[in-house]
Amino acid sequence: MALEDICNFKDKPTHKTFPFYASEDTSVSVFTEAFNFKWRGEMTSKKASDVPLEFHVPSLFKRPSSRASHSVSVRRPFPLSHGTTTLGFIFQGGVIAAADTRASAGGLVACPAVHKITPIHSHLVVTSSGSGADCMLWERILTREIRLYQLRHKRRLSISGTAKLLSLMLHPFKGTDVCVALTLCGWDKLIYVCSDGARLQGDIFSVGSGSPYAYGVLDRSLSWSLNKEEAILLAREAVFRATHRDAYSGNNVDLFHVTAEGWRQRQREDLKEEYYRDMEKRGLLGFSNWFTHLFLEE
């Protein structure tokens, strides 16, 4: 698709409607010229650099207000669940992004070793939460758009611009089942974008079913003046506590550290080791449960 843009190749669209309504003929896939981005300073024109973003919108696309008489609803193969723990925070040494690695589908651990943190470019990393498939797709779309912007304009789009772009791209799907909650982690900024339409900048974000557990730990110990090791330990601890209590988070922890020089990834760590270390530290390793303390006291 990127090559298509560079070569200015445009397929003939069959419909040119926006906003999109489910057409009567549901078997035809429809292009939308939904986005004709007018970058600042450029007027409407058909210059080569002004190629609109085009989407293949599947014919089964349903909007809540659609009046299609025979729209086929696809039954979910398994219950979707948005279980995860991802977090990101800013401190004096840059930005830390951390996440667990469990992908769950209802009660099943579909994959215990998923990458929930993806680099977009050398100075931007995105943590994903929500539906795994949607997140992977939108990360790729975002990466493509950022790269195209860089090629066209010979400079990188800022993090705020990236967030705005993503938010606008997700907007037509608001009200559908697309579920994407991404935290864009740049070297000095943290922006949360979600498919409901929210776009928030902040110092600390945690997303997912395990996020309350992580928030408790982070709120307690986070400060601006942490050094790098302390910040990494804090992020690991927060994800560990969340995976301990939340059933939908677990397995390993991924950690990225983004600075002005770029991102660096820490080696993935199995939290099982961390659990045993914690139990040992609290003196519980030799005992099956705490009640033996009560027995021993007498």
């Binding site: 309350p212 557990y213 992580a214 928030y215 408790g216 730990v217 709120d219 307690r220 400060s223 601006w224 003046s225 601890e237 927060a238 506590r241 969340a242 301990h244 209590r245 939340d246 609290r282 003196g283 449960n289 705490w290 009640f291 303390h293 009560l294 006291e297 007498e298």
Partner: protein, 271 residues
């Protein structure tokens, strides 16, 4: 007993040995029959949407049982009462934290207190925490499936039983009855759980345990909209329960903000 208080058909003959008692206790039923919740009545719509926002926690350690809770009663978006009591003493060596519908919790605590007192008078000894939890659970069982919502943790100290010492049980109107060493209940409980998991151990001193409990409630009230205002801390030992003065968490928030600001200033000066 006042009119209008709900009685249920409890069978104490096996516990107390009084068969005649059973008949006299079968008083007028405003409550459901054991088999069928409501006797052919239209469901009454709720006057306002009820919400179960709270943060309560309790844990066992070498110094007894510590229970802490916030004091905000919320009703969807309204703070109905900023100074409510979520930890209710049941008797001298047993307190219960409440979560769920506050009306239901207050009522059932009173019923439980009454039943435990009657047991004590009949048998000359207090019922253990485990027994109290079982009693409460069985009393709540006929209401399973209705809109009754009670999630309580009973924190007590048992004497004269085979397993004496601190004891903690979680009882809820769904029917669960769980023994444990650490529980946190309510909408703010995840925030509290992570703090408690970090710090709670058997060997804590009373001061350390109190500080962890306060901090856990504070963090939960910071993040959860339905928890807030003040924090209550109760400590149950072999001598009975004692209560710490209620503290407004607003002070804690400003203290922390100030200390963070000061360390930030100090760091900046050092650079």
């Amino acid at each position: 007993m006042r009119q209008g208080v709900v009685y249920i058909n409890t069978n104490f003959s096996s516990v107390s040995g009084f068969d005649a008692e059973r008949d006299s206790m079968r008083t007028c039923l405003l409550s459901p029959l054991p088999s069928l919740p409501f006797v052919s009545s239209q469901p009454v719509p709720l006057p306002f949407p009820m919400a179960h926002g709270t943060t309560t926690l309790a844990f066992v350690f070498q110094g007894g049982v510590l229970a802490a809770a916030d004091t905000r009663s919320s009703c969807s978006g309204l703070v109905a009462c900023p100074a409510s009591q979520k930890i209710l003493p049941i008797h001298s060596h047993l307190v219960g934290t409440t979560s769920g519908t506050s009306a239901d919790c207050a009522l059932w605590k009173r019923i439980l207190s009454r039943e435990l007192r009657l047991y004590q008078l009949r048998n000359g000894r207090r019922l253990s925490t485990s027994g109290a939890a079982k009693l409460l659970s069985h009393m709540l069982h006929p209401f399973k499936g209705t809109e009754l919502c009670v999630a309580a943790t009973l924190c007590g100290w048992d004497d004269h039983t085979s397993l004496s010492g601190p004891s903690l049980f979680y009882v809820c109107s769904d029917g669960s009855r769980l023994q444990g060493t650490l529980f946190s209940v309510g909408s703010g409980s995840p925030y509290a759980y992570s703090i408690l998991d970090q710090g709670v151990q058997w060997g804590l001193t009373v001061a350390e345990a109190t500080s962890i409990a306060r901090e856990a409630v504070y963090r939960a009230t910071h993040r959860d909209a339905y928890s807030g205002n003040c924090v209550d801390v109760y400590h149950v030992t072999s001598q009975g329960w004692t209560r710490r003065t209620r503290e407004d968490l607003k002070e804690e928030y400003y203290r922390e903000k100030e200390s963070r600001r000061q360390t930030h200033e100090a760091e900046k000066k050092m650079l």
